[in-house]
């Protein structure tokens, strides 16, 4: 902590000294009188300082979601009679509820500072400047403390419906499959064979046909979903960049499918490839979100990225890719995955165009760029990879509606 004269004391000292010097130089006694009020106020300069000051900072949560508040609690002990003023200097994308706070008096002063993270990322909340002043505000002690680092996760996009594949792996789940099994959904009626459970005998059909008939039910299976988040490019306006939309969309899909008891994996397609094989449960959900936040984004000239690893893609998995489709390596990887027989769906999050100055050449360039983008999307559609556009504002249900209303047929 740094103790020293306050700005008020410095100004009073300047007035007193300048007036006294003027009085001596000009030999005019009235200037000495001019120094008197300031000099007398300076006599109340405190001789002692707070012996031992303790500042304790704690947070109510280590992770928050975009747009939610984190409460930082500041406890100040041992301040004696000194008044404390807290000034929050928030980092970028952090919004402070109140920039300047003066806690009420008492042996222990507790201040609760609401700080809101406006954008995902792992960053310190900012700096906290605590200024202690004596009651005459002549001396002050300043201490600058870094506020804790907090992980802010992307706000998951709204997704209430889910895409279900026609072929599901042989794992117990909650989606009715084409095969018959022990589920709860009616599948059909067939003749009784020895070994069938008697409680499933369909008596109306038995009476009608004269032979024993049985009610069959659809098996309930889980499905494997692999979400690909393309972090290679970040374009668009701040707060709604393609990277923002990729992460929010991926977080929404992960949240939705894990809530439906599906097995969800994640592939981060960035400077280098990171992935988590499909899994279930709350702990897996946390691991997926941690991977999403921990992977460095950006573009690197690295080879071998056009082929996604087999371990990340279990057979029969549905692959949902969130991407602005600007990186040719990802487009190549998606083609490769489709050729390997996976069902792929691309959510296009590109919502920006190259800036142009209105000149003829610039307009032509923009037009060529747009045609190129259309060609990329058309080529994907032609090989059986549907591309839907999501603007980041509406629910993800809207662009995915054509695929969530019916079973998505898996074909090679």
């Amino acid at each position: 902590m740094r103790w020293g004269l306050s700005a008020h004391a410095r100004r009073l000292a300047t007035l007193a000294l300048a007036a006294l010097i003027t009085a001596v130089v000009t030999r005019r006694a009235e200037f000495a009188g001019l120094a008197a009020p300031a000099a007398l106020m300076l006599t109340t300069w405190p001789s002692g300082r707070a012996a031992e000051l303790t500042v304790r900072i704690s947070m109510d949560a280590a992770t928050v979601v975009e747009g939610t508040e984190a409460i930082v609690t500041v406890e100040i002990h041992g301040h004696d009679d000194f008044e404390a003023q807290l000034v929050v200097e928030p980092n970028d994308h952090v919004l402070a509820g109140a920039a300047i706070v003066s806690p009420p008096g008492g042996p222990v002063r507790v201040v609760r500072l609401p700080l809101e993270q406006a954008r995902w990322g792992t960053r310190s909340l900012g700096m906290l400047l605590i200024t202690f002043t004596d009651r005459y505000r002549l001396t002050e002690g300043k201490v600058l403390i870094q506020l804790p680092v907090i992980q802010c996760r992307p706000l998951p996009a709204q997704l209430a419906s889910s895409i279900v594949m026609s072929r599901l792996p042989s794992r117990l789940g909650e989606h009715p499959a084409r095969a018959t099994g022990e589920g709860g959904e009616f599948a059909g009626v067939r003749e009784f064979v020895p070994g069938d459970r008697q409680r499933r005998i369909n008596w109306p059909a038995t009476t009608r046909h004269g032979t024993l008939h049985l009610t069959t039910f659809a098996a309930e299976r889980t499905q494997n979903i692999v979400v690909i988040a393309d972090e290679t490019t970040d374009v668009g306006v701040a707060g709604m960049t393609s990277l923002d939309l990729v992460l929010r969309g991926a977080a929404g899909a992960v949240t939705r499918y894990l809530a439906a008891r599906d097995r969800v994996g994640l592939v981060i397609f960035a400077g280098h490839l990171s992935w988590l094989a499909p899994g279930q449960g709350q702990r897996h959900y946390q691991r997926l979100l941690d991977l999403m936040m921990a992977t460095p984004g950006g573009w690197e000239r690295a080879g071998g990225l056009t082929r996604l690893p087999r371990a990340a893609l279990p057979p029969g998995a549905l692959i949902i890719a969130f991407s602005p489709l600007l990186d040719p390596r990802l487009i190549e990887a998606l083609r490769d995955v489709r050729e390997r027989g996976f069902s792929v769906l691309v959510v296009d999050v590109l919502n920006a165009e190259p800036a142009h100055d209105g000149s003829r050449l610039s307009s032509l360039t923009s037009r060529v760029w747009r045609l190129e983008q259309q060609a990329i999307r058309f080529s994907l559609t032609e090989i059986g990879v549907p591309v839907v556009h999501w603007d980041g504002v509406t629910s993800l249900d809207d662009p995915l509606a054509p695929y969530t209303r019916r079973v998505m047929v898996a074909h090679r």
């Binding site: 001019l34 970028d92 984004g297």
Partner: protein, 210 residues
């Protein structure tokens, strides 16, 4: 459109704006009015000052204006200048320039020099003392966003200071008082005033660490 190639993993967010504006209209009005009053009073009449009055007057006006501007920009939270537009950078530099020097102290010195450049006029200097002290207190209140009641504890000292200023003005106004009953009365009055001043100041001084 830009391609992100920094690979920053921990904090990938960019772009910001100025936050934390809190206009303190009435809080700024008092120091602004007192600064204008102090400069006008110290320089009046401009033609009556000695050589160098006009340059010092200009300095006083500039420093007075900057001291008020410094108070106005004190509440602006300045984020890191990375990723800013040109206008934001200019604002950033102007705020840095305004906050660079102790303008209130410079204006105080300029006002004293202005007053010293004029011929001796004790009552005029006494009024300047009141205005200048008031200006510094107003700057302090505006700076800390405090109410006038915050100065209540120092009120005896301010009264004592005003008494001492009155003594000095009296001494300057009556330099050659001839010996006699009038001079004796004035001296007795001065001693009484000094005693009252001490009576006001000493208790505050003893209680300063409580």
């Amino acid at each position: 459109m830009s391609r992100r190639g920094d690979g920053a993993g921990a904090d990938r967010a960019g772009g910001a704006g100025y936050r934390g504006w809190r206009f303190r209209g009435l809080g700024l009005a008092a120091p602004a009015a007192l600064a204008a009053g102090v400069i006008w009073w110290a320089s009046f009449p401009v033609s009556g000052g000695g050589g160098g009055t006009q340059p010092v007057l200009v300095i006083a006006i500039v420093t007075g204006a900057m001291s008020v501007a410094e108070l106005a920009v004190a509440t602006i939270v300045i984020p890191q200048p990375e990723g800013f537009g040109a206008a934001d950078r200019v604002v950033h530099q102007v705020i840095g320039l305004i906050s660079m020097l102790p303008w209130a102290e410079l204006m105080t010195v300029a006002a004293l020099v202005l007053e010293a450049l004029h011929k001796s006029r004790p009552w005029h200097t006494a009024v300047l003392a009141v205005a200048l002290t008031g200006y510094l207190l107003a700057v302090h209140l505006a700076e800390t966003d405090a109410r006038v009641g915050a100065l209540r504890a120092q009120l005896p000292l301010l009264c004592a200071g005003a008494g001492l200023a009155a003594l000095s003005v009296g001494a300057a106004a009556l330099p050659g008082l001839p010996a006699g009953p009038v001079a004796t009365t004035v001296r007795i009055g001065a001693v009484v005033l000094a005693t009252v001043v001490a009576g006001l100041a000493v208790p505050v001084w003893f209680s300063r660490d409580r």
